[in-house]
Symmetry: C2
């Protein structure tokens, strides 16, 4: 069925590339959550900022909702188009626009995949340090829209710290150019930080200027086996007291099980309840400190075994044990929680959560991993093959409500790095007060008075 | 003359400390700008967050404007009360509330002076690295409200980077608790970053949790004499390529002249057109690199002389040459511009600005200094003793309009770190687009629907 609005859009924005094939609608209408049935009106693939602005003006005039779309690797349903929205995909706007050696910035169109931006930085002898496993598919615009974290936050912080400027097309089609690579600019409200993590609800990020930094030192990767969850924070403390850690990630035995079943190589002859992947400079002083931390932890019974990479190939193998988890779980359509608390609240929260989930999910395979150095846990519940998805999700939602209560008690967040989107919307009030949510709605109405920007995501 | 509203406020908030003496009204009604005649209704000195909330609710109900007040060391008129406003001074809310060794945070009431917060961090073996000359008088709340910069930005960034959380009483008296020390929290709009640099127009910052970091290494201070303005960026490049700089500040011969007249000790036998104060670790490797950079600059004719501190006392003497400038100029009631551009735009902007000011101010003493590593210039025009202030300001405003045009052309900011307040309000549109300003007004109306929070500051 064709919709007269599509012809009208095409007439309004001549030259705009549009896709309306059912296969395209399905492809562009969903993200990695796979929980909603894609049903977009059409897919617009603008090639320039001006085209994005024209599309937004048309959408506003015609009261058509827009879903901004990057690599659609999101895990919260933020890029899902299940209600006749117009998907505005940035995939054709994927170029490096400029590099400045003095400012140490890289300016890119928002649709560029993270990995290509990283590579462009490296070609100039510098580093864009935000990193995670979806680097090949996710887009910088999507990274900014969720303030993506990843595996290097313990060293470099979240995406937010690395955005020197961005361009945003707001709900009336106007273009904001905010930040503009100024190190210092105290001239009123910081709309750049407002756009970051706004999940497409305030506008479409069309361009970004990324801060770059010196490349990381050559590094070693160490895999540690831990006898208990309780040991985790103590091992972290022992290592961070001695080393500048580039990463400190943990996974459970169940997580390792799935990665190994997916083809990774077993690191130890025996299995252990918990594992840590950590990375640090490979200079002599760092290696000495790392071994001292390791021995200290072994003596204290906090670590049962360990291996340190002897080559880049082995480092990559060890990293695969952590980075391969999400992919290895994909076939189980896992129910994901991505939560955070303050580091100081972590031990108590970990213990309570472990007990809660043990009681709540005796029948399910629960896979834990995460960025313990940032207070960020990923909890994946795997759907049994013989269970209907709706029933499984309902069962998990019930437990998420309990988890949200624990988070609220500890001052934590229901979304550390995935965003709220559709998936966590019912739990937003565990993390943000009703006053804050009302303010967010008010702010959205200022930037998007017609309410066409990713409506229904984050809040109703 | 007493105002019945004061009695009403006192009755509404029993126990609230109020000051209404003329001397107090004058003292609390102005900041370091000294351009407006203080005329507040009264001074409220709440002792708790609850009292702040009660005062705000009363002000909203009675349509009384509030001026949030910290150390009033601001240079943009942000804390001026010249229109019958109620000044809400945080000076009684000046305590350290908590320290967390694991999170590495210090929680303080917003009225605490910066220096006391720095000292509290040091007592725990850590550092709160934001620093500038007003440290003894300015308050953390004011620092946050302007996103204060200072002399360590080149190494540590602005205040914004160091705020793990803050509490804000918004225009209807509700309390926001945002940030909450979470390293990762992607749950919608970041209201913490919105409050930072909002200059009291969105609410009153009542509490802050500061991120702390490792203390700086022992350092050396080096003073360089430069033959020309053109050399400045090249000297910066030579030093930052070899060293992790803790600071890189410049001043002109006129600036040095005033500091010396104020009692500082002359560093060189001869005078030079420009000077740089830079600081770096005092380990052997850094000293070697610093001397190499110095020699390289000498050979290239970029530097004519230099001195390196041999003791902490000498380091303090050298720093005084930079930090003493503002105080040494105070008696001239200087007209201040505090502007920034991208580093890459700095050479062209410097050249244009030098020419512009040379032409525009042949009759005035113009003192330049600033944080060249952040792209931040301070331009102080000194009022001749025999000139009426209004006439002087009008003369300077004319030139600021020209300067604002140059800033606009270079994508710079009319306020790098002082804020917009009253002083720079006429020039806001040189830095922020009309669309942005309209959005800021809309956002203010969301957080402060009655328009009682520091009205007339930042924009009308």
């Amino acid at each position: 069925m064709t919709d007269s609005r599509i012809a009208d859009l095409q007439a309004s924005v001549p030259g705009l590339r549009l896709k309306t094939d059912p296969a395209d609608l399905e492809h562009y209408g969903r993200d990695w959550t796979r929980r909603w049935t894609p049903a977009p009106l059409a897919i617009a693939l603008p090639g320039s900022i001006e085209e994005v602005q024209s599309v937004v003006r048309w959408a506003k005039a015609n009261a058509v909702a827009i879903v901004p779309s990057g690599g659609r690797t999101g895990l919260s349903g933020g890029a899902v188009a299940a209600n006749g929205e117009l998907v505005v995909s940035l995939e054709r706007m994927n170029q490096v626009i400029g590099f400045d050696a003095i400012d140490r910035t890289l300016t890119v169109q928002a649709g560029i995949p993270l990995q290509l931006a990283q590579e462009a930085a490296r070609e100039h002898g510098l580093q864009y340090p935000v990193d995670f496993a979806a680097r090949g598919s996710c887009s910088i615009g999507g990274n900014i829209a969720t303030n993506a974290g990843g595996t290097r936050v313990v060293r470099y912080g979240n995406t937010r710290e690395w955005i020197a400027g961005l361009k945003l097309v707001i709900g009336d089609g106007e273009l904001l150019d905010v930040g503009r690579s100024l190190v210092k600019n105290s001239s009123g409200y910081d709309l750049r930080h407002l756009a970051i993590a706004s999940e497409g609800t305030l506008g479409i990020i069309v361009e970004a200027t990324l801060k770059l930094t010196d490349p990381p030192p050559p590094t070693n990767v160490m895999l540690l086996a831990l006898p208990s969850f309780d040991a985790l924070m103590q091992v972290f403390d022992a290592f961070r007291a001695r080393l500048q850690l580039q990463a400190f990630e943990f996974l459970t035995d169940r997580a390792l099980h799935h990665v190994l079943a997916h083809g990774a190589q077993a690191p130890f002859a025996e299995t252990h309840p918990f594992y840590v992947v950590t990375e640090f400079a490979s200079d002599e002083a760092s290696e000495t400190e790392a071994l001292a931390a390791f021995e200290q932890c072994m003596e204290a019974g906090l670590v049962s075994d360990g291996v340190i990479s002897q080559s880049d190939a082995q480092a990559a193998q060890l990293w695969r044990l952590r980075e391969g988890i999400t992919e290895s779980l994909a076939r189980y359509v896992p129910y994901k929680n991505d939560v955070s608390v303050r580091l100081s609240a972590m031990p108590a929260f970990l213990a309570e959560t472990q007990a809660l989930l043990g009681d709540a999910y005796p029948q399910f395979d629960v896979v834990w991993f995460g960025h313990i150095g940032d207070g960020n846990l990923h909890i994946n519940v795997l759907k049994p093959d013989d269970m209907v998805q709706a029933e499984f999700v309902a069962d998990c939602d019930r437990v998420t409500r309990l988890l949200a209560e624990r988070l609220h008690a500890h001052g934590g967040s229901i979304s550390a790095e995935h965003g709220i989107g559709l998936v966590k919307k019912p739990y937003l009030s565990s993390t943000r007060s009703e006053v804050e949510i009302a303010l967010m709605r008010g702010i959205k109405a200022v930037l998007d008075p017609a309410g066409i920007m990713n409506p229904g995501k984050l809040f109703d």
